[in-house]
Symmetry: C2
């Protein structure tokens, strides 16, 4: 059951709704809440973290809806999947080209802007294949 959160500016909700519409997504209450959580700050939450964040006050959004919505956002190019951890997928609301640091000890993910990063010497793609994306993951750990 949806409960309106009057503490937040209707402005923010309305602008998120417009962004969703601009991407061909019907803006429902749950989708707006999930988008707010995704875009409120620079982080890389898992589906479970999003579910928790959306439901801090009351349980108003189900697990299935979070997964449905994340898949929808993914299809519409609103978020990116980050596959760096064997246990779960993280979602990246920064859709501009970039790469990642992944701190293997803490799980923390940090963006690396793609400007200035260049990869040379990659072999040609296998025949009939097209590049869907190039990810660089720099795995780090605490030094000496």
């Amino acid at each position: 059951m949806y409960h309106a959160n009057m503490a937040l500016e209707p402005n923010t909700r309305e602008s998120v709704a417009q962004m969703l519409r601009a991407h061909g997504i019907t803006p429902t209450h749950q989708r707006i809440e999930i988008a707010l959580v995704l875009f409120e700050r620079c982080w890389h939450p898992s589906a479970d973290q999003i579910l928790t964040a959306v439901n801090v006050r009351y349980a108003e959004t189900s697990k299935a809806t979070v997964y449905n919505t994340l898949k929808l956002f993914l299809d519409k190019g609103l978020v990116r999947e980050l596959i760096v951890d064997p246990n779960k997928v993280f979602y990246d609301s920064n859709t501009s080209a970039h790469h990642h640091f992944y701190d293997m000890s803490s799980g923390e993910i940090t963006d690396i802007p793609a400007e200035g990063v260049r990869i040379d010497g990659l072999p040609p793609l296998p025949a009939g294949m097209v590049t869907a994306g190039v990810d660089i993951i720099v795995r780090t750990r605490p030094g000496i």
Copy 2:
């Protein structure tokens, strides 16, 4: 030091046992079978594929042992984890530096030798951090 990529050499149980000893691993029957499966050819099996391959004739190795052994091999630097698919981890018996093509439609993984591949313009690591590895994943899909 034993050469990690033994795909071109005929592997006997005894030679595999020696390699395991050389890496500080007690060579048990199960570990030898798993190593044979891992190194018999150039592939990137999941834990489940390894379990199946080891038990083609009859069940002789348990799931728990496959996971224990893969973790042990990982610790000892005998294999690498490949995290490219949200659903499962693949294991890479080629421990020389290289990157990967990942065909998102078929799940097929192809090695990219690291020689000749150069990455320029990566920012400095976060303070106190050390690089544990740099992975490039070129995600591909069937073209037009």
